[in-house]
Amino acid sequence: MGKPTDKMMPAAFSPLYINEALLDSRKALALFKFTQLFFPQHGPNLVNMLLDMESQSRRVIVAVPLKEREQLINDLDGVTVELKCMIKDNGREMMSLPVTLLPAEVLRRAVAGKLLTPGWEEQRKVMERIIIALIQKEIQRKIKLVLEACLKPLMVKPRLPAMLKELISRGLVNRNGRLAADTTIMDLVSGRYARLFADQLPEEVLNEAWLIQKTLQACARRSSCAYRSPEARRAQDAGGQSEPEDYPVLVQEALRSHRMLEMTLKVMQQKQHKEKRDIPEAVHRHRTGHLRRSR
């Protein structure tokens, strides 16, 4: 028998671990191509299988007779299945995706028609942040390549531009015209390479870089606050009571219920009055303004 997980989620895809410093878009792309070549079905199938378990579980369980369901749940109670998918680069963990299943709980929630992965939203946010980081790294790499391509012809000239000399002396550009490994877009656009960047690159590229910078900033802002209402953010900032993330949705649903009930009760009153039928006592009280109930 396996030990139950701390969170006791029936199907948890967590904790996801990504070492963003190691995550390299070239390696990620190469790995993707490798899996497509050698395991054309396995990768997508594993993910689909796990997602299907959530989305199709109700349909699957409904086909299992009641007694058999109960027997399965009893037999599987306490059993835990743990799968771990890990990618390492030179022995260092780059990414791991542990999957923990509590089969009895999966069955119970499927029978009740409940989602299996209540922590999915959190996991999705982590994935979103990682994808943005990956995009940022990829764009950064491409821009660096463009700038380095511009520097290359300058490096072979007998007289180096003063700015380039300065950068070389500070170790930010090497003798081959390559930028430092940790160069960021900010460095290029408005930081330590800004003058070189402005001098050497065509204006369109410069504008494009600004746009990319703004886009990434907007992306990062959206990622960090997309799921909190302005009211929730204000309350949190003021140190007050914070709203649950789904608060606006719940309030809207309550308002919708109110409207639908209002309509139904009004139509009921109108129809019953018209047809001279008996009106339920509670509706009569409602109509005549006696809203508080005695029972």
Partner: protein, 217 residues
């Protein structure tokens, strides 16, 4: 092997425009004091939601069409439909005022299904009072506090409503008949019916994220 009767469960949401439109229409015709709350900018903010929910109704209608139910043996149970003897008239009236939900009910009735009174009118009025109090409190108190109070009171009431509906379905359904249940996402009626019916969910997972969020409630 146990042979449970079947039951088709359809989790639903109403569009804000649908409800607001009908409410405005009712106010114009009845002019009876109570007003529906419509915050400024609601229409813009909810346009995406409403489009998704309209897609949901189209999807439900298409799925029902696909499964070819024997409508002469189908009894429909609808959230917020009081047991009052004029259920069909209520559905007709709401359909005339733009409710996509009730329009679908009337289509099914047209194919031979029977629309049943589903909820205890007293409990519906109580729910309405709670919601009215919540909306009224929004002006003077922090909304979150009022909402938490409402949630606590409504949770107990919702259990009573679900218990009534479950008893109603059990007592109404005859052998060979098929209950088709349209229930809002806040209900947990399916829990109360487990063991009595083999529940089939018409839609397993709605194909848009925002509604998925509501399903986590």
């Amino acid at each position: 092997m146990s042979k449970e009767p079947g039951l088709i469960y359809v989790p639903i949401l109403h569009t804000r425009r649908e409800t607001a439109g009908i409410a405005r229409s009712l106010q114009d015709s009845a002019n009876t004091g109570s007003t529906a709350t419509q915050a400024p900018g609601d229409d813009d903010r909810s346009a995406g939601d409403d489009r998704s929910i309209q897609e949901m109704w189209a999807g439900i209608a298409a799925k029902l069409n696909d499964v070819h139910l024997p409508y002469e043996r189908v009894r429909i149970f609808q959230e917020a439909m009081p047991v009052c003897g004029i259920e069909k008239e209520i559905a007709e009236s709401l359909t005339a005022q733009g409710s996509r939900n009730h329009q679908l009910l009337m289509d099914l009735v047209g194919q031979g299904a029977r629309l049943e009174g589903t909820e205890d009118p007293d409990l519906l009025v109580q729910e309405y009072e709670y919601l009215t109090a919540l909306i009224a409190a929004g002006a003077g108190r922090p909304e979150l506090v009022a909402f938490e109070e409402y949630q606590a009171r409504s949770k107990v009431l919702m259990e009573k409503r679900d218990a009534f509906i479950a008893a109603r379905i059990r007592s109404t359904i005859r052998e060979g008949e098929l209950p088709l249940v349209f229930m809002g996402v806040r209900h947990q009626l399916d829990k109360q019916l487990e063991g009595d019916f083999m529940i089939t969910y018409l839609i397993y997972r709605l194909p848009f994220r925002k509604i998925g969020d509501i399903y986590n409630v």
